[in-house]
Every structure is written in C-alpha cells, then in structure tokens.
Symmetry: C2
C-alpha cells in the first residue's frame, strides 16, 4: 500500500486517482440548519453532494443494506433499480433519514425538485448518511438545490469524495484505467460497518460500455467479495448503499477485464475504509483456510475481528493469543460444530502460536509478537495514512477447502470517544 | 436493589449472605509464581480456593461453556458428572489452563494430589479462570495444596468469593433461606460474558435435600433463564462453569420451592455480575415482548446490548435512539425476517421513542432522556455498589408471544483499558 509523508501528498495522489470518467459531473454545497430534535446553540452543518450523468443512463446497478429497518433513501433506491434510465444521485451527510415521519416524502421532494431544476425526465437516487432518527431539514435542503446545481462541473471527484464524509478521517478514492476508459470509485464509511455491505455509501462511476445486465450480475458478487469482508464494528447500518453508473462513452475491452478492474477498485477502497475506521489504530487481517466452505471461513474470520476482547488486546499491542482461540471456539460452539482442536494451526505475524492442539508460546515469542503489533500500530506513526501494515492472523483448519480473508480494526479509546456522543 | 454507602457496609452484607450451608468447608491460599511465557520483573500472584463437602455427595450438577475449545478443567468436569460421588472443587484464578500441552495432566495432578492429602476416595472438580494459553505453574500449585487444605473451615463463604475474583471490582454472594436450610452462591465474572453461560465461574452450595435427578433437571434450565440472559461483551469464555452441590443435611420443603429459590439466587447473582462488568458505567436492561418466541426475544435483546455503537452511546449519556432501531434491523435483516416497521414500539426510561413506524423525538424528550441516562450512570455516583438503577429499554413487537429480559453493560474507556493489556 502506498504511503504518503503528509496530507498534501495524499490529497495530490487522490486528485490523480480522481479524474472523472467521461460523461459525469459533480457538485457540492454546504448548508446550515437547526435540527428539530435538539436545541443547539450554533446551527449544524450539512453538505449536499450531487453526482450527475450528463446524459441519462441505463447501465446502473445498486446493492443495499440487509437491515430490516432501512432508511427511506434505501427503500426508494430499491424501487429505482427498475427504472429504464436514471440521472444520478444526490447525497447528504449528517442525518440519515431513517424511519422519520414524512421521511419518504422529504426524500422524494428533494429529488423531485432537483429534476425540475435540472429539467430531467429521469430520476435521481437519494442517499443520506448520519444520525438515525432525526428529520432532514427539508426546507434548508430545498433552498440549496439551485446553488448546488449551479456548481456542477466535470474534472475531478475529489470534492465529492470529501463532501460525503461524516466521521471519516480522510477522503477515499480508488480508480483504474481500462482500455480507453476508467473506473473511479469513492466511499464514505467509518463506523457501523458490518456485516453485509461494509461501507455506508459507495459510488462508482465508469465511462466503459458495460451492459446493464452485466452490471447487475457482477456488482452484487463483487460487493460480497470486497465490502462485505470488512468490519469496523459489528453493526450493519440502515443506510448502506453501493451504486454503480456507466456512461457507456468508451468501449470496454471485455466483461472479464471490467470485472477484474472493478474487483480491484472495490478491494482497495474497502481496505481504505477499514484503515479509516472510527478510532482505528491497527488493521487486523484474518485469513482462514481449510474451513467447511468460503462462507464459513468469512464468518469465522468476522467472529474474530468483531470480538471486543480480541480487538482491545490488539489495541494494547498485547499478544493475548488465547483470545483468538476463545473467539474461534465461541463461533463453532454456538453452531454445535465439533472441531478437533488438534487440527487447527494459528500464525500471528508469521509466528506459529498454536499447533497440534496446543499453544506454542514462550518468553521470546511473546516479546517478538508484542513488538510486531507495536510496529503495526498507527499511534506514533508518521505518514498519511500512517502505513500499510496490518496485524496478520492466519488460521488453518482441516474441515474442507473454504477460504476467506477479512479485514477489521482494533477497539480503542478513540472509538469509544467518537461514539459516546456522535451527535454533538 | 440494596445499595450500601461504603465498602465496609457492603462486605458486612455479604458476610450476612455468606453463611455456609451445613456440610461444607472452604479455604484460600495465595501463591507467587513466574510464568513460563513472559519474563516478569516481579512474580505474579495466584489464589487457590477450595470448596469441600464434609462428606462426599452424590447430589450435584454442572453446566459448562459451549465454546468448541474448552479449557481442560471443563472437559474433565464434564466427565466427572457421571461419578457417583464427588468431594468438592478446587479453583485457581490468573491462568485458565486452556489448550496447553499437558494441561489435562496438570489439572489431574492437582486434583489427584489433593485427594491424597485429604484422604478422599471421590474426586474434586478442577476449575481455572484467567489468561488463556499460558501454562499453570504446576509445581507451585502442588506445593501449596497442603497449606491450603490446612486452612479448611466452615462458617462463611466470603473469603472464597473474594479469592476466585480476577478483574471483578467486588465479590458477589447471593443466598436464600428455605425451610431449615439454605442456598448460597458465589460468582466470578467480569468480561467475556456471553452468550451462553454468562459468568465464567458460579458455585452454588445447599444443605437442602434435593435429589441428583432433580438438580440435573432444574439446573440447566435455571442457568439458561438467568446467567444466559446477561452479556458484558459478546465473548463466550473457554472456561464458563456453573456447579451446584447439595450436602442433603436438611429436608427440602418441595422441589418447586427449591427451584424458585435457586432461580432467585441465580437471577440476583447474574445481575451482580453485570453491575460488576469490566469497566461498566451503566447497566442496560432490554425487555422484549411480542417476539416470535422467547428465544428470538432473548437473541434480539442481546443483539441490542452487544452493539458497540449502542453501548458507546449509553456510556456517553447520548439518547442516540436511532442505534436501537439500527441494531434491531440488523438482527432481523440478517435472518431474512420481514418485520413491519409500523408494528414496533420502543420505550426508553418510560418515554415512547418510536411508534407506528416513526421516531417520536423532540427537543424536550432528548433532554429528558439524556438526564435519565446520566441518572443511571455509575460515574460520580456514591455508594457501593453505586446504585441499582438501569437504562431500561422496552421493545414491543407484534410477531407472537415471545418474551425475554436481558441485561448488559455499556462500552467505556475503562473496558478498553482493562482489556488492552489484561495480562500485566
């Protein structure tokens, strides 16, 4: 992973990655509002982000949260998947518009007014992220749509990538060139990133000519293999959304090449999301091999990276490797699956810590493992992002050929601080 | 819940509760050792606790962790359930003897030597709690068995209740009088308290004459209804053990009366364990009614009290009630269960926060709820334990008649601190 010595270098790299594929424009607009649910001395700030296709497009796909109480933008977005063509997406941060009275009407009022302003026949997706349960400041948003639309421009996606952020520490962009065209993707995500649809919001633009049918076939599988394999906490948001739009301006070398490129972009962006997780000071990478099947491997890995005890130990650079075995045993025990303890091997940072049924620990190894974990910490690390290292745990079982790698984060004071009063 | 203005008052109350049922003795012994896995400048301390039946007894029962990689004392304990009679249990804190080479042999060497010293034909249960993966200091323990046995005495269980503690902030004893006899129970538990067999170690003594068959029938169900309904984090230990022993010295009024008394003792002790959870500053009590069945109600409640985002918000006295809906939606969505959002009602501290499909929040209610949560915090509270209040969330569904109440704790800096390097 590329590392930058300061924030300006990082932003310069993002700008390089952020060249918009042909046929798309973006705009951002900040507004101030007073929420109706809390008396605040100062107005709160919200940013609107518009991503628009210059011509309405038919090649688009979406994957949404599995949460049983999804936000209004999610239920509207699901319906929009059957539209012949769409015009783009309008995103707000700060408030997520979930289960609010008239929340559906508000979302439709915003996208409807935008269509009028832009003179568009085809709809926009609404997308909202932030506090659950509060109402969107509909009047303030409506007033800001015309100024937002006035700012539409092509060129670079960096401003949009920054604008969709909430508690994200830095913006996230990944892109790839393919033939004459490109794929460019941005994500917002920091907490509430599990277990299906890892990041709250992902928007992917391409000018490569891929059919609607191919996109709808490929996209859910790629999301499942990338964003669904990361976890910052064990919480799945009510708003998780991934949308992909193709302007079809450039010919695509092959569907396979597109699939591989999209996978790479999503995979890198998913890792960016974990490195940017709320309060993250270590990235934990668990690779499971020899599970009953791939799904079991992924679930077992997630059980490990979601264990608060494991996460807290990693934060403390404490090679408390017993907690890995505890979390594994918790997973299998709760499913009444019998695993022979002698058939399991665990490696941490390349050191064998458990084999043939027993831990293989000694003083020297403990010191080595603790130093390894310190070396993987972001704390006291320079650079931006600090570095690309992760605490690597490899688990080998003898149950089958199931294999998966999942990425998670540690549990830190900073995570607790950010989430103890997220709304102020 | 009874509250005490200082620690001495609390300990006096524990002493009152701690009168040993007839036919039992206890002893404790502290020892120092150097672990073989970490070079420590000072020796570490460990306490041995012996609970002995004056006469070998046949009325006993045990419930153990479902973790697939249980500790050696757990696998030995399961075998001992088929013994005709047993002599008692020997417990050590500090190291849990899980998956260590010769760990089984060490546990058997300790209980075997104890039998020799005490001249007993019938075995003792071994029981260990603490660090997973390290080896028990066998030689140091064996040397301390004779001094331990020399200290055996009847009277009170308080010394034993203190001796089995690890990171527990205070010892825990609950008891009840029944006819001429009594039930007296102690527990050790602070972290890794989920999802089956809530506390790591629970020992219950009674002099009431209840048959082995009745105990084996009653005990698992009572554990399931009490200790299995609490959670400090989402981790299930490799060592969770609950044992009950009857000396059968007193006649029991009825099996039903015994069952009710045992339920009460276990229920109170389970709540003590949550109030004493690692770093706990709020107890969260979730009551679910109208779920598909009781198991669903309990699972849904646990999903709420295990959500890191919910737990962190409660710590911050932030009535971020959207996170409750998020966690509920996460539970049902992951199980592909469709729940009509309009059929759900949520109350926090008696205030309706969600009804008929929408949140019902306003400025006044937000202030009231935040004050309610502050009032439930242990921080800046006097008394010991600080108070008996909890953050009460009531969920009403229209899916069936399933009902359950679960208890959990918030997520605090102190939890992270304690678990970031538990082993120093």
């Amino acid at each position: 992973m590329e590392v930058f010595t300061n924030q300006e270098q990082y932003l310069a790299a993002l700008r390089d990655r952020g060249t918009l594929p042909e046929g798309f424009s973006t705009a951002v607009q900040e507004l101030e509002f007073f929420p109706s649910e809390r008396r605040t001395p100062q107005p709160m700030k919200m940013r609107l982000t518009l991503i628009e296709a210059e011509e309405p497009l038919s090649a688009f796909a979406g994957v949404f949260t599995r949460n049983a109480f999804p936000g209004h933008p999610v239920t509207i977005g699901r319906d929009l998947l059957s539209e012949e063509k769409v015009s783009g997406v309008i995103i707000n941060n700060r408030i997520s518009n979930v289960r609010c009275e008239k929340g559906r009407e508000t979302a439709l009022a915003i996208t409807g007014r935008l269509r009028e302003i832009r003179g568009r026949k085809h709809p926009y997706f609404p997308s909202s992220t932030g506090i659950i349960g509060w109402k969107l400041p509909e009047k303030d948003i409506l007033e800001n749509l015309a100024p937002l639309a006035d700012k539409l421009e092509g060129g670079n996606i960096l401003a949009a990538a920054r604008s969709i952020m909430t508690t994200d520490a830095f913006p996230k962009i990944r892109s790839i060139e393919l033939g004459e065209g490109r794929i460019c993707a941005i994500a917002k995500g920091a907490g509430m990133i599990e277990p299906n649809m890892a990041t709250m919001l992902v928007f992917i633009l391409t000018d490569l000519d891929v059919s609607r049918e191919d996109l709808r076939d490929l996209f859910p599988r790629i999301i499942d293999g990338t964003f669904n394999k990361i976890s910052v906490d064990s919480d799945q948001s009510t708003s998780d959304t991934a949308l992909i739009f193709s302007s079809a301006r450039k010919s695509c070398p092959s569907v396979e090449a597109f699939r591989d490129g999209l996978w790479k972009v999503c995979s890198q962006l998913a890792e960016d999301v974990v490195r940017n997780g709320e309060g993250t000071s270590h990235v934990i990478r668990v690779t499971v091999e020899g599970a009953g099947d791939d799904a079991e491997a992924a679930e077992l890995g997630k059980n490990l990276i979601n264990s608060p005890l494991t996460k807290a130990a990693v934060f403390g650079n404490d090679p408390n490797v017993g907690r890995f075995i505890q979390a594994m045993g918790d997973y299998y025990g709760n499913r009444d699956i019998v695993v022979d303890p002698e058939s399991v091997t665990l490696e941490l940072g390349g050191e064998t810590i458990y084999r043939n049924g027993f831990f293989t620990l000694d003083e020297e190894k403990e010191v080595k493992l603790s130093n390894y974990m310190k070396d993987c910490s972001f704390i006291n690390s320079e650079g931006f992002p600090p570095h690309g290292r992760s605490v690597d745990l490899n688990i080998t079982l003898k149950r089958g050929t199931g294999r998966s790698t999942v990425l998670g984060s540690d549990l830190t004071y900073e995570y607790v601080r950010e989430n103890a009063d997220y709304r102020t």
